[in-house]
């Protein structure tokens, strides 16, 4: 019985997979994405090599003298994937929608669903088979993109280390989950709509809401309306402040000598930290409802965690506290902690809430599609 059921599932999945990979819309979007990804990779690699040279120069300079200050960390190969992530957050969503929006409506319109369901096959095999075929096609598409990306890295003589390979795998998995999220939203709309046109329009409305409207809700104006204005720095501290601009990394570094011992600084620091925690929590709530925000957040952590990290050097036994304003983030972040090397486990730990939110979305929409398809009258 079980074997019979599996047989129907794989028969449908097999057909769906080949339908996807031979469909013109899939080939077209995938080709565009592939070209953009390769061009982005080459650009990213050029930037990486430039950053690497800066790092090497700084390292050779600091090794010959004792300095007090900051130095960029060794750039990570992951920065190269930042460009792919940028395009994936848009083109990936389009690919997912294009693959899913007419999956059921097309069969309703051509009347082939009636024929298909008159055969000895369970309905769940049909809907699961469609999802499985889509998953396999998406997996293939991402596998090709990541393989080509790795190949491009190797052609340029860049060999990722073990940790970076893990992060690339995580990047691939998260990207897959992100595209599958939009695929499942489109599949749901295809199941509930009577025709492909309606399914596409409804899917695009959801796409616009969760990819554009929700991120707009987290801009500074809205955030300050909800969380209030950030605490102002006391004037006495401003007078003591020294501002240095690190031209090489384009990061603005603000430092205080012996700031850790100032009560005014500590008070300001505590208030600011509480404020940002509040803002982050509010943003987190918005992000939960936006796969695009979750994806951006995860990929940002994966691809930029190492580059924004600063190294603090102890000099003459005095503590140095750094305030880093990352230029790579669209949202200002406030980090007052003493910097430490961020390990892979730390990065992975940091993306878990977004990852869970990214898992919940496709799970919910697929469950809704499943429930609707199982109860649907086929006329």
């Amino acid at each position: 019985m079980m074997a019979e059921k599996t047989s129907g599932l794989f028969t449908v999945a097999h057909k769906e997979f080949f339908d996807h990979i031979t469909s013109r819309k899939f080939i077209l979007i995938f080709s565009i994405f592939l070209v953009i990804a390769i061009i982005g990779m080459i650009g990213g690699i050029a930037q990486y090599q430039k950053d690497l040279k800066t790092y090497t120069d700084q390292r050779s300079a600091t090794s010959s003298s004792i300095v007090t200050g900051y130095m960029s960390d060794r750039p990570s190969v992951m920065t190269v994937f930042a460009t792919i992530a940028t395009y994936l957050s848009f083109l990936g969503a389009i690919l997912g929608i294009a693959m899913g929006f007419d999956l059921v409506t097309k069969e309703k319109e051509s009347k082939s669903l009636k024929i298909l369901l008159s055969h000895p096959i369970y309905r769940d095999e049909v809907i699961n088979g469609k999802a499985l075929g889509g998953i396999a096609a998406l997996f293939l598409a991402l596998a090709i993109i990541l393989s080509l990306s790795l190949a491009t890295l190797l052609i340029y003589g860049i060999v990722p280390d073990g940790g970076e390979l893990v992060l690339i795998a995580v990047f691939g998995a998260v990207s897959f989950l992100f595209i599958f999220t939009y695929f499942s939203i489109a599949l749901f709309m295809s199941t509930v709509s009577s025709d492909s046109g309606s399914a596409l329009i409804f899917t695009m409305i959801i796409f616009i809401v969760i990819s554009s409207l929700l991120p707009t809700m987290t801009n500074d104006t809205v955030m300050e309306t909800i969380a209030g204005t950030p605490p102002q720095m006391p004037l006495e501290l401003l007078d003591q402040m020294k501002i240095n601009v690190d031209n090489s990394s384009k990061n603005t570094l603000v430092s205080f000598s012996d700031a850790g011992s100032s009560p005014a600084w500590n008070d300001y620091n505590t208030k600011m930290q509480a404020y940002w925690e509040k803002r982050t929590a509010i943003q987190g709530v918005f992000a939960l409802f936006s796969p695009t925000m979750n994806y951006d957040s995860i990929t940002q952590k994966i691809t930029s965690a190492v580059t924004t990290k600063q190294l603090s050097y102890r000099s003459s036994g005095s503590a140095t506290t750094a305030v880093t304003i990352s230029s790579s983030s669209s949202l200002s972040s406030f980090d007052t902690s003493d910097h430490k090397d961020t390990d892979i486990a730390g990065i992975l730990g940091g993306i878990i809430p977004n990852l869970v939110a990214l898992l919940v979305f496709p799970a919910c929409f697929f469950a809704l599609s499943y429930a609707k398809f199982m109860r649907m009258d086929v006329r």
Binding site: S110, K111, K114, I115, S118, P120, I121, Y122, V378, R379
Partner: protein, 305 residues
């Protein structure tokens, strides 16, 4: 082989099919007749397990369709009215996909598909189904319905788009299959087609099965020409006398009285023949108007309305 037990389907409070009960025997070709919206397709969709009845049940070979949908679908072959296939696949590829759902042996499957395409006249057609005419799709639909050697074939308006050759092929195939013991359930509004192929018909009106039986039985039950009267046409070589009989409700004569049309509540042909013989009138023609299936259908339908 097929049983409908108090089958009812309700959409938005309106009964599309209401308390339908019927039994169709092995090897029978049963035609379900009815005007548009009578509930024929809804009945077929419940029989094939595509929609669930609101009440009652359908049984195929003793199995409840709702409770054992997959087991029932193993035994039936179905061709819907608006038969749909995958437009990007050829006829052979479409049949190959559906055959895999029956878990047929690959070699058997290949031969079966080749034989069926030849049977319906689509052998050698390699183009994608998207480029097929409606008639070609219907032929392919018939081949698909026969793919699993079903014990029950369900056909919804099978000849709606077929050309004369296609209709002739369809008749040949269906009668041949029924002859080998397969039960055929046909829904149609093409009355002439049903009367030529079906061994028994049921007339559905407003979701209710109002009458069923052989075409001859139905015609006999209603009299001739859809009314409770018999029309007898007479031609003689010399003028006829006036007919008088309690069953006669009207008589029309020609000017020369050599032809007449008698309307009566019963068949009076023998009485009229005897009467004319006694009066020395030689008969050129004496006939009763035969009732067509169309007349019968309309009569029952009007009665139900």
């Amino acid at each position: 082989m097929i049983q409908f037990e108090h089958l009812t389907k309700t959409y938005n409070g309106i009964n599309a099919v209401e308390d339908l009960s019927a039994e169709i025997r092995d090897g029978e070709i049963y035609g379900l007749l009815g005007p548009n919206g009578a509930g024929k397709s809804t009945t077929i969709l419940m029989l094939t397990g595509l929609i669930e009845p609101t009440a009652g049940r359908c049984l195929v070979a003793g199995m409840d369709v709702t409770k054992n949908p997959v087991a029932v679908k193993e035994r039936i072959g179905y061709m819907p009215e608006d038969v749909g296939f995958y437009a990007n696949l050829s006829a052979e590829e479409n049949l190959d996909y559906f055959a895999r759902l029956y878990r047929m042996d690959r070699d058997v499957q290949k031969k079966k598909i080749s034989d069926l395409l030849s049977l319906v006249g689509l052998d050698g057609v390699t183009k994608e189904v998207g480029g097929y005419s409606k008639g070609m799709r219907q032929r392919l639909g018939l081949a698909k319905a026969l793919l699993n050697d079903p014990s029950v074939i369900v056909l919804d308006e099978p000849t709606a788009n077929l050309d004369p050759q296609g209709v002739a092929d369809y008749r040949r195939i269906i009668t041949g299959i029924a002859g080998s013991g397969t039960t055929v359930f046909v829904s149609s509004h093409i009355l002439a087609e049903v009367s030529r192929v079906c061994t028994r018909v049921g007339i559905l009106a407003r979701g209710r099965l109002i009458v069923q039986g052989s075409v001859q039985e139905l015609a006999g039950r209603i009299g001739s020409c859809g009314e409770h009267r018999t029309v007898i046409r007479i031609e003689s070589r010399s003028p006829m006398p006036v007919f008088q009989h309690p069953a006669i409700t009207g008589t029309e004569y020609s000017n020369d009285r050599c032809s007449a049309t008698v309307t009566a509540t019963e068949d009076l042909r023998d009485v009229i023949a005897d009467y004319l013989a006694v009066n020395g009138i030689l008969i050129r023609q004496l006939s009763k108007d035969e009732c067509s299936l169309e007349d019968t259908f309309l009569s029952f339908y009007q009665e139900a309305s």
